[in-house]
Amino acid sequence: MAYQRKDLLGIEDLSAEEIQLILDTADSLKEISTRSIKKVPTLRGKTVVTLFYEPSTRTRMSFEIAAKRLSADTVNLTVAASSAVKGETLADTAHNLEAMQPDLLIIRHQASGAPHFLARRLRCGVVNAGDGLHEHPTQALLDLLTVREAKGRLSGLKVAIIGDIAHSRVARSNIRAFTKMGSEVTVAGPATMLPPYLATMGVKMVYSLEEAVRGADVIMMLRLQLERMGQWFFPTLREYSATFGLALRHLALAKEDVIIMHPGPINRGVEISPEVADGPYSVILEQVTNGVAVRMAVLLLHIGGGEKS
């Protein structure tokens, strides 16, 4: 099949076939990063702009490295939260950037739907690098790639996602991604962070970490956003960690070959104990490696058109 999209806004829009194509492409590109000269000329002359309205280490670097390995030129614009004070709207910022003729705009924004807002207005493609609480599609794609490498398949797996589901774009994208590929997703966390409406997304909801990880092939821990404590989502870190933090003793409940994932950055000792994060079941660093490969694939499929023929 051919990949025809102008924009990558969310997993929601993608078919299982498109997801397979992105993963297969990522697989074939992964080897480039192992060479001594980690660069191919595929996207020479293309310009990729990253526009980040929220702090990010992993995702922005990962996109930038991916672009450089494909020889695209990258420009990074990190917009401080205060720049709205200057009065430029998101639409104006984007139109100004577009006037410089980039080929692809990668955006992270605190407002859900901000990439959709831009995609409707811009001729160049838009890739969502995380919008509010909505989606983080390249994170889900790299998670799928990591699971496929570990398990050899994406269907029929039991995936447990633990933590603050309500405020997690990673959770939303992964719920969509894993259910689309034929796996079963269970989410767990305190009810303050588990909106009941999630059930309509085809997931099982439980309030117990133990129940969620029982028989799991994949356990994905979400980062606890510490500021939520002040908003009464949970009383204390101590209680959260004791109730929903993943420790070694939980792994015995899961499948023997369970893998442990985390989108980072980790709060060590809060949602995940150091023994688990650094232990043999952890694929957290593979996720980061695969992030580059998946983003190379996304860049190639979106703006590599000229070279395909």
Partner: protein, 425 residues
């Protein structure tokens, strides 16, 4: 010169009248209603209304005219032209202007501007508290003396229950109704749309139905405590309808309105991050829509008001969370509401009661009737006329309408204010 409207079906809920009548108007008043042919046409201007409905001028008891202070969104002139074009002869203007209408000077300014520029009657609603800040009572005696007909901190509900109690009691002194924008601000928090399946899928923070319902419950309890006239604005949830239904059954002095968007749209209208569907209270679910229709049919909801809330592209052409709440409604309200009649939810007389007679009664203003001696405010409606919503034909200065392109059936073809035709389709 007198005006004779001949051959129409006259619908006047105030007299429980739905019958063929000719209507004679002179000197700005209704002179007579007579069976067809009895009133002689000689020397009179004639409007032939065969096949049309002739009814009391519609009254929209909840609009935002934005003047003074935000004239780039709407003015009293443009907002009342939109009213006339939509079939309304009177509007109640909410006080969240800049400055807030919390003092007699601002009330008088609004009425002065209306006198000079308006195409419809303008009834100022003044603030419950100074600056709508929820800290101190505004001067109700002074405000009523200047012409305010009701009190509301619309959009900034009075969160302190003791202050609300005092406001209701003090308003009772002057027989002013308080219009409550019933919303618990703590429970709403930073929500931007209805909390439900759609908000979870879109990753937008939700406003639960309970944010409205807990406040409707509080207001009902306070109305019972104080015996003051309480009116609940823009009811949007099934739970609120039920609370109000029970309150009325218990004899508590509460009235309520809903808006056309709450029986025409659900939260799915937000999909695609459509900021024209961002409104407060938010668009709810199909269950709520059904309950709103039932509440209109059984009389729990007394009025339909548009909550016409003009915003420019500066407030709406933004990412969803940053966009302002509100949509315009004066020019679609009648067409959307007539669907309730075409679909058999309401009789025409019930609809006119909710869009004219009841608002006049709740606000204690003239109008809402065609009895001889009443002001000659009339709306002539073609029930069968099909039309397409086109925002660029609107008289409103703003374009924030989620109904663009909708095909509607039924439209005001004449709007008559004080005996003068102010709009003709």
């Amino acid at each position: 010169m007198s005006l004779l409207i001949t051959g129409g079906l006259v619908v006047d809920p105030s007299q429980n009248l739905t019958a063929a009548r000719d209507v004679l108007i002179a000197e700005g008043k209704i002179i007579a209603l007579e069976p067809p042919g009895r009133l002689l046409p000689e020397g009179r201007q004639i409007i032939a209304a065969q096949g049309l409905v002739v009814t009391c001028g519609l009254i929209d008891m909840h609009v935002h005219l934005r003047e003074p202070g935000e004239e780039y969104k709407e003015t009293i002139a443009s907002g009342t032209r939109a009213a006339a074009q939509g079939g309304f002869t009177a509007v109640a203007a909410m006080p969240n202007t800049k400055p807030v209408n919390d003092n007699a000077t601002t009330t008088r300014f609004i009425l002065e501007r209306a006198k000079l520029t308006a195409s419809a009657r303008v009834y100022p609603v003044a603030a419950v508290t100074v600056g709508s800040q929820g800290q101190a009572l505004a001067e109700y005696a002074d405000l009523k003396g200047a012409g305010a007909v009701a009190l509301s901190d619309d959009g900034r509900p009075v969160m302190n229950a003791l202050l609300m109690r005092r406001a209701l009691e003090y308003a009772r002194t002057f027989d002013l109704p308080i219009i409550s924008h019933a919303e618990d601000l703590h429970l709403r928090a930073d929500g931007v749309m209805h909390e439900g399946v759609v908000s979870v899928c879109l990753g937008l923070k939700g406003i639960p139905a309970a944010a409205e319902e807990v406040m409707v419950s509080r207001e009902v309890a306070l109305a019972q405590l104080t015996g003051a006239r309480l009116h609940i604005a823009h009811v949007s949830t099934a739970g609120s309808v039920e609370i109000i239904r029970r309150a009325k059954a218990a004899g508590i002095p509460v009235t309520a309105e809903t808006a056309p968007h709450y029986f025409s749209l659900t939260d799915e209208a937000v999909e695609g991050y459509n900021t024209n569907a961002k409104v407060n209270p938010p668009l709810r679910t199909a269950t709520d829509v059904a309950a709103i229709k039932a509440g209109l049919a059984d009389g729990t909801l007394d009025a339909i008001a548009s909550d016409h809330a003009p915003h420019s592209s500066l407030e709406k052409d933004l990412e969803f969370a940053a966009a302002a709440f509100g949509l315009i409604g004066l020019e679609t309200s009648l067409g959307l509401s007539l669907k309730l009649v075409h679909d058999g939810h309401l009789t025409l007389s019930q609809l006119i009661a909710k869009m004219s007679t009841n608002p006049a009664r709740i606000l204690g203003v003239e109008g809402g009737t065609l009895t001889p001696g009443a002001p000659a405010d009339l709306t002539i409606i073609d029930l069968q006329r099909e039309w397409q919503v086109e925002v660029n034909s609107f008289a409103s200065k703003s374009r924030n309408c989620p109904f663009q392109g909708w095909r509607l059936k039924g439209q005001a073809v004449y709007t008559i204010l004080g005996g003068k035709v102010v709009w003709q389709a």
